[in-house]
């Protein structure tokens, strides 16, 4: 019998979630027509652990699309860091890996508590992948990087759930449900479920991270970037849906009183045309990644090569969101990387 794994009967699942909702704001996958999104929930009936993929990654519960940084008024400015207790429930392993990368990136060099304060107040419960999205390639990307940083992991079995406790924060959740220690057989079955799903991943990279990073870097001056990006709209969708993208813009906004307001950041994307543009005055400007091929290349470099030393692997977790959402369907990292590897 495992000391860290517990079993929750199917019939007790809803009361567990009800218990969690009483302790913190719970963000979980819910259905929106034929899509899924991570959303704050008010009832356990909303939760859909059988989701395949959410439109936006769950990072938004920690690094929101728009976030107030500083409030200002006639008397000066005050910090807007106000974390609240949150539980991020039902996160697939690839999104756990992505959040772990953001933890490192917001902590390194200059600690950004605008992210980390909410992160430290967030308990993450992972869940097994029950349905596989069409463009996923999580089984073959960054295999050396293991999911880390979550507090518990829940795996669906036919008659209930195995709940693996990984941290003291995760252990606290046990108080909200009718858990029993899991049997060795249940633990083994959960392990099997999580291993077997890897075999069902539809898209595959045929090379390892080091090999890919080296070849992608070496292809910097290749004509492929221009060729592959010929139909790019520079819309930035691939950035916005990416769980490891964390670039942002900062803007000031006035309140209606016209004397107070907020300085806020909002997600930004390196595929957008003016991302690296500076004004020189007299209407002149300089754009350091003027052509879409350059911007398209920059994204792939960031995902496959530039951050690898820091992260121990690529800054891509294989969720397939960019592949699925790109209108001209040119953002799929598998296709780009395979094309480069074969060139």
């Amino acid at each position: 019998m495992s000391t860290t794994s517990y079993f929750l009967k199917e019939a007790d699942f809803e009361s567990f979630l009800e218990g969690l909702i009483k302790t913190a704001a719970v963000y979980a996958p819910v259905a929106k027509k034929n899509w899924f999104v991570f959303s704050p929930i008010s009832s356990p009936k909303e939760v859909r652990l059988d989701y395949d993929l959410t439109i936006l990654p769950p990072k938004k519960a920690i690094f929101p699309v728009r976030q107030e940084l500083v409030a200002f008024g006639p008397a000066g400015a005050t910090s807007s860091i106000k974390p609240e207790p949150r539980i991020l429930f039902g996160v697939h392993f690839y999104d756990i890996k992505a959040i772990d990368m953001l933890d490192l990136l917001f902590r390194e060099n200059n600690v950004d508590w605008n992210y980390l304060a909410q992160r430290e107040n967030t308990i993450i419960v992972g869940s097994n992948i029950q349905k596989v999205s069409k463009r996923a390639f999580w089984a073959t990307v960054g295999k050396g990087v293991k999911p880390h940083g979550h507090d518990a992991f829940i795996t669906k079995l036919p008659n209930g759930y195995v709940f693996e406790v990984l941290t003291p924060k995760g252990e606290k959740l046990l108080a909200s449900g009718k858990f029993k220690p899991a049997t060795d057989a249940q633990v083994a079955e959960a392990k099997k479920v999580n291993e077997e799903i890897l075999e069902k991943c539809p898209e595959k990279l045929s090379h390892g991270s080091h090999e890919i990073a080296a070849k992608v870097r070496a292809a910097f001056k290749s004509k492929l970037w221009d060729e592959l990006s010929r139909t790019c709209f520079s819309c930035g969708t691939c950035n916005i849906v990416c769980p490891t993208c964390y670039c942002f813009d900062v803007q000031d906004n006035w309140n209606l009183d016209q004397v107070s307001g907020q300085r806020a950041r909002a997600w930004d994307g390196c595929l957008l045309e003016d991302f690296a543009k500076v004004s020189l005055g007299a209407g002149a400007c300089e754009n350091f990644r003027e052509h879409r091929g350059q911007r398209y290349r920059h994204r792939l470099m960031r995902k496959a090569a530039y951050l690898n030393d820091k992260l121990g692997g690529p800054a891509c977790v294989g969720c397939g969101r960019c592949s699925a959402q790109c209108v001209p369907d040119i953002a799929d990292p598998v296709r780009i990387i395979e094309t480069i590897m074969e060139s």
Binding site: C247, Q251, M301
Partner: protein
Amino acid sequence: MSTEAQSGSAPHPNIFLPRPAEVVRAKQVTATEKHFTLKMKDGQPMTFEPGQMLEISVFGFGEIPIGYASSPTRAQTFDIVVRKVGRVSSAITALEQGQTLYVRGPLGHGFPLDKLRGHDILIVAGGIGLCPTRSLINYILDRRSEFKKFTLFFGVKTPQEQLFLEDLAAWRKSKDVEYHETVDRADESWKGNVGVITTLFKKVSVDPGTRVIICGPPVMYKFVIAELDGIGVSRNNIYVDLERRMKCGIGKCGHCQINDKYVCLDGPVFCFKEIESLEEAFR
């Protein structure tokens, strides 16, 4: 905050929270540039190295990155020069003496003083590239004995775009710096050299062991570096001060990246050798 009280953690310092600085002097120096002298309102000295930068803002309009235009060797105040270009810089250049500017800094890495001391120095400044380099120029002048021969080139498009006129007058007469200036297009008032900044190389002899600092519009770099190559200056001894779009200044927002380097963290001053092969560095 209640959640902090619950978790018992200390308040979280907010790296985006700027500090107020008082404008102690504001002077319009060209049609578009305004020179500010600032003093921190909290009474703390602004501690920085020549070549570092800061984020400056007027609330309700936004923030922009800017280099220090004064030397840390001088006074309890610091200088910046802002060109009126867009929404934020228009709001900043509207400020007058006694008003408040918000600042975050110092940010980034400045000029490598340890690698410059004991050597001949050449600074090549184009247009408002003189602003961040002025922090080093005055530093060298204040600690003149630490450096050998000191040469300064300054080029602008027209005489009206010259900045720091009092400084220029002093440098023209100074024995501590060999100062040369040029304009691309002269007018009747101009008696000096006419031509792009590289025409000044004919007027001096530059030792190949010279440490060179370049700051100016992006187009200027390759021509200056071609001259230096001709002289035989090692690219390891050339330093460039780069400008980029920046939103955070702390290595997060992504805007200033040149390939895998962050200008705000790894720069804005770079050894040319380090970045010469990066396609996005100079265009």
